[in-house]
Symmetry: C2
Subunit: 236 residues, 2 copies
DNA sequence: GCTGATATTTGCGCCAGCGCAAAGAACGGA
DNA sequence: TCCGTTCTTTGCGCTGGCGCAAATATCAGC
């Protein structure tokens, strides 16, 4: 990638740093290094010692967790100026990443030593506060998705996932006649706890109904309200 | 219940307060009130404004979340000296409880105003730190359970739930020849995202195999290692 | 010890969703 | 433009788990 100089101003976009002073941002910059990982590579693997936390500056990163038998689920996708790998930074005891971070495209991130963040937290309450805010939103989202997985049928979960994704990336790409998403059937399956076959069948059906258009690693949502209806469980 | 006087010493048992000074503990006590709820009642309902956070002093509380159609899942069970309802305290914007807190038996809790905790956090980094530690453990647990729900079969999930419960309550009741659990089939179903029928069938089968003994709202685990084997997916 | 309420078990039928397999489509590199 | 790789679609068969319904067990209060 082309060389990019990160300024402290850029760091203001990071939610956790929104209340940070300029001095603090400079301090953060000075103590961090840049890491670039090519598409398909990993910033870290589940179980690695959590020595760094990251702030994505370009690209896209998928956080996922796998069980002992290798099956995996997608926990979330990280976009630029979002923080990831922060959980390990706070835990004093078992500081291991609970998930793996794989790049979906060539990506670059700022790597900040966990110990450094810990030291900053001790004297900067506003930082703790913003970080806690981030954590609570994670918890709430995970709880909601857990309930979804436990109580809703596959079509509802897939519809919900598409709506969520549209909300995230739609906000960043403007809205044309159809919100574009770039992900494979496999990705959607891992996000919703189903299989790529079932996702494929659902998307085909929805395309037949004109709710969306599909392509290779591409989904264009034409009638978001129809997806909302399906997600609500009002079948037919 | 009999009248119980909570001292600041008791509060030391609360994980989030483990590093608090005695003065702080006194301050917390002075600013909190006691609430008792009878079995089946609610400390708060999902969606209520999160004006208080609670520390359970006696009894047992079930945290659960329901979807718009009324189906519900159990997120966790709270035992004495654990904190609950803390998420809302941190969020400045939408301070609503993301779950409901129902008592499983007559229970009493210390209620601490969210705003008061917020003010304490601002000047006491160690408190923020301990609270963040609690949050990260929540996140990790939810992620693990989410993955479990997405990738594992019902028998594995039920076996896992029993193991977890045995670990929690077994630690508090000593280990005899058989770890006793007190919960209904419905409870187990809501914890594992299945139905009471399936749970009943599984338990009957396991009883036949001598792995456990069952009763009305009672499960005695006789061979924990067998459950572990099932949870690992090494069927037969 | 009765009685109503609540919890549990189990037979039975059913279907949502899984997953193999094979064919087709889209892409990227040379 | 051709070729290999990767992604997607769809037919087909199967089964894990759901959920009704009805019988049975257990408990709490009187």
């Amino acid at each position: 990638m082309t060389f990019m100089n990160i300024s402290s101003k850029d760091l203001k976009q990071v939610v956790v740093f929104q209340h940070a002073t300029d001095d603090d941002l400079d301090l953060i910059l000075k103590n961090s290094i840049t890491r670039s990982i090519e598409e398909g590579g990993y910033f870290f693997m589940q179980g690695d010692e959590a020595t760094y936390l990251y702030i994505l500056t370009s690209g896209q990163v998928k956080l996922m967790q796998s069980n002992p038998h290798g099956q995996q689920v997608n926990l979330r996708t990280i976009y630029p100026w979002q923080m990831f790998g922060a959980l390990g930074a706070v835990r004093s005891d078992d500081a291991a990443y609970p998930a793996s971070a794989q790049t979906l495209e060539d990506s670059t991130a700022l790597a900040l030593p966990s110990l450094f963040l810990r030291s900053m937290l001790e004297t900067r309450p506003y930082l703790s506060f913003d970080l806690m805010n981030l954590m609570t939103s994670y918890i709430q989202e995970m709880q909601a998705r857990y309930r979804e997985l436990a109580t809703e049928r596959v079509e509802q979960r897939v519809a919900n996932a598409l709506i969520r994704l549209a909300g995230q990336t739609g906000a960043r790409s403007g809205k044309e006649a159809g919100i574009e998403l770039s992900l494979s059937r496999q990705d959607v399956a891992e996000m919703t706890g189903t299989t790529l076959y079932t996702v494929s069948r659902l998307l085909s059906e929805w395309e037949r109904q004109g709710i969306l258009k599909t392509g290779r690693e591409k989904i264009s949502i034409l009638q978001p309200h129809e997806l909302v209806r399906i997600a609500d469980g009002q079948e037919k």
